[in-house]
Amino acid sequence: MNAEQKRAWLGVATMTACVVGYLVLLPFFGPVVATAAFALYGINGFAGFIGRGERADERDRSIGRRATLGGAMASYMAFILGCMGTWFTVFAWQGRELVWVHVLGMITVFGGIVFFFTRSVAVLVLYGRHTEPDNA
């Protein structure tokens, strides 16, 4: 297992911890406080310390680029869905003019989490599948 895969597993593990934490906190504190469990995803920042100085070749770089692109696409879709979902729910459906101030921050954090989680899953999937180099 190389550094890229270890970082991807860390991403999947922290996301699992976030979801478990949310489900544990939910019945006791409600959905707003339980959302704080997603702060655990910050642990993923330590991924930068994994495999420093380890050699990456053309296959690793190709997989990294594809996974990053997949993560960016998923993140963009999540962000747009979050914005449009908010607009639809608050303005179009409920007929209100004001949005809770934390919504934008939560949508942004959600987009970031989607990016890193999708990238982690894509890395793990691509290492198990047939891949082509970028110049093929």
Partner: protein, 78 residues
């Protein structure tokens, strides 16, 4: 889909049972990539194909074979 196969494993054994690690070091890639190549899970770049062929003192087409099915290559011309 065109498929690129290779004889890396055979050439490794023909060269004093060269290890995957040694081939990886000489070709400038990781051992994981050599494993993926031998398993047919990775198609190398042209540059890597040349580097691997040079390790074995062979031509690229001796180490790598390009297979195209008739349906994709079109009907044979007369």
């Amino acid at each position: 889909m065109p498929k690129i196969t290779n004889c890396i494993r055979r050439f490794r054994f023909d060269h004093d049972e060269m290890t995957q690690e040694e081939l990886a070091n000489r070709a400038g890639v990781t051992r994981q990539t050599i494993i993926a190549l031998e398993a047919g899970k990775y198609t190398p770049s042209l540059s890597l194909a040349f580097r691997i062929a040079r390790v074995f003192n062979k031509r690229v087409e001796d180490v790598f074979q390009y297979e195209v099915s008739l349906s994709e290559d079109g009907p044979p011309s007369s």
